[in-house]
Amino acid sequence: MQFFLFIFFLSLNVFAENDFSFKTELGVDYRIFPEKSTRHPNDQKSQFSGYLKPELELFPSDSKFEYKFSGLLRNDSSDDARDYFEIKELFVQYVDDKFDLTIGSIQNFWGVTESAHIVDIINQKDFREDLDGEKKLGQPSVRYRRYFDMDLFSFYIMPYFRERPSSTFNKRFSSALPVNSSSLFPGSASKNHIDFSTRFQKNLGNNDIGLIFFRGNSRDPIVTIENFNIVNTYKIINLIGLDYQYTSEDLLIKLETTNTNGFGKSYNSTVFGFEKLLPSIFNRIEVNTLLEFQFDDRNISEAPATSLDDDIFFGFRFNLNDINDTQFLIGSNIDTNDTSSFSILEGSRRFLDSYKLSLTYRGFNNYNNDQPFYFLKNDDHINLNISKFF
């Protein structure tokens, strides 16, 4: 049996170079919560989960079509909302020299800043996966991208909207009240509303500029409370966004800014900052400093809540440049209005060639009851992740 498996994987390897690739990540997450939860006195002190991330790509060499599937299967020891299978990508793509056309569920990333991703508006955030909002649900789309010399124009039609998932009420990272399973879509908003987005990206030497327009269901809901339940309301928004990066030898200057219209009075959100490469240590260790400022003038009585209104993020990223790719990020995000803050420490390194060990710490400080995310104040945690790559 093992022999046949061996032959099977060997044959996969032979094909992989030409027509298809198949890879899998298998991992476990162990979360430790040093503090008592604010929600439930007997809430879990730790949480254990396992996951599988398969990824299959087909790209027949004699065809201009290619196909991709990637998914995530997770199983959690204590939170049923974290037992799920998510299709991250499932699409067919027609690839031409000057353009490509994609139909299916896609993952898309836009933006340049590190502490917040405000122009990254195609995919819904998956807060079951993690609090950082960097894990996304697949977005059913028709995407057209047209390539010019160094520039790119892209256009998206999104016929189906996906609501934001969250952890089970009373479990770690959940909101203060249960979330009502039926959301509201006032006006022309609807799960079947056809959303549009377009982006033009221009390179001018050391300057890279992206212009974004989006019309459709807001990915962020506004939260109202009815009968001790949270009701998510999604509205149609018009969003205009700009991202910009200036790149010099050792300094990056970054800007993301958006104007959102649809939740009451239109509002502006901005992230602006720097990334500076410091002289290396022992000619080997690379150190980057990050400094970013976040501004937001929304009125949270009529728009989705944000914690990044008048905040400063400051951090260091270390890359040890060793055989095991050891990396660290240490940083803190401070609200200049009320001095609440959260701190992060992320570290990772490879071991035994195909395994990776990652450690994340997040701590919440000075979170008061009048803040939108006060319910996270005792959810400081350490996440230990071990994954194997096949």
Partner: protein
């Protein structure tokens, strides 16, 4: 009389100096001239990293290069990492410039993100190896000053032939070296051996080129490059598979926006 004598000495001195500089530049020019016209190439290589205690790690990388077609620009190159598995699909794109900082991008497949990155970290190691980024850049004459030192028998497996020995000093900023000494094959104008001196001017690394093969009757390519770090006792061996010069390299692949599409 004394004055004349000194000026005579000075003349000899400067004549020798400029002769040495001119010969150094001539060797560099001939090296570049003989390696012009390859247009594009594609190669798969293995990087074998060894530490002082004998531990070994391997990397597999596919690399494509496009020769510069404008006089004031350097070559373009693309490296796709196939192993280790956790970084599979990561792509490094570089547009080498001669007088200006290089343009560099990194594609991170897990995040679907193309990141334009700072290029000042030339002295930093490439993928945890003993090669610095600057060791892997295409050779451009104006990036160094060149001083001819002597002619002698070549080191390593080229013992039977003579080599030019030239000292090259980086003219670009942020180099990890004060200088490097290059042994160039006298007949074929290919590098055979390089000593690298660190910022304190002590011997840091040596690079041995081996297993040269001739492509298209014109272009020599070494298939084994071994970099030994004398200070840490670590080494990295690069073993190339056969180069492909016939591939019609798609120029548009060296476009940051298209990195997401590369297989």
């Amino acid at each position: 009389m004394k004055k004349i004598f000194y000026s005579y000495l000075l003349t000899i001195f400067f004549f020798n100096l400029s002769y040495a500089d001119q010969k150094g530049i001539d060797i560099a020019k001939e090296t570049v001239k003989r390696n012009t016209g390859w247009v594009g190439s594609e190669v798969v290589f293995q990087m074998i990293l060894k530490n002082a205690s004998g531990g070994v790690a391997e990397r597999k990388i596919r690399s494509m290069a496009l020769e510069n077609d404008k006089p004031n620009e350097g070559d373009k190159s693309l490296s796709i990492f196939d192993t280790p598995a956790d970084v599979e699909g990561t792509i490094f794109l570089s547009h080498t410039k001669i007088k200006k900082p290089d343009d560099q991008w990194l594609f991170l497949p897990a995040l679907k993100r193309v990141k334009r990155i700072s290029s000042s970290n030339k002295s930093g190691p490439f993928m945890g190896s003993e090669y610095a980024y600057e060791d892997l850049l295409s050779f451009e004459i104006d990036r160094f000053t060149h001083t001819f030192l002597r002619e002698e028998k070549c080191p390593g497996s080229f013992k039977d032939v003579d080599c030019f020995v030239v000292e090259q000093t980086p003219t670009y900023e942020n180099s990890g070296y004060t200088r490097r000494i290059v042994w160039t094959h006298k007949n074929d104008y290919i590098a055979v051996y390089i000593d690298y001196y660190d910022r304190k001017n002590s011997l840091l690394k040596s690079l041995t080129f081996d297993n040269y093969k001739l492509y298209k009757n014109k272009f020599w390519r070494a298939h084994e490059l071994n970099m030994v770090n004398h200070q840490t006792k670590k080494s990295t061996l690069i073993v190339y598979e056969a180069y492909n010069f016939d591939a019609a390299i798609d120029k548009s692949l060296f476009n940051a926006n298209k990195l997401k599409r590369i297989r």
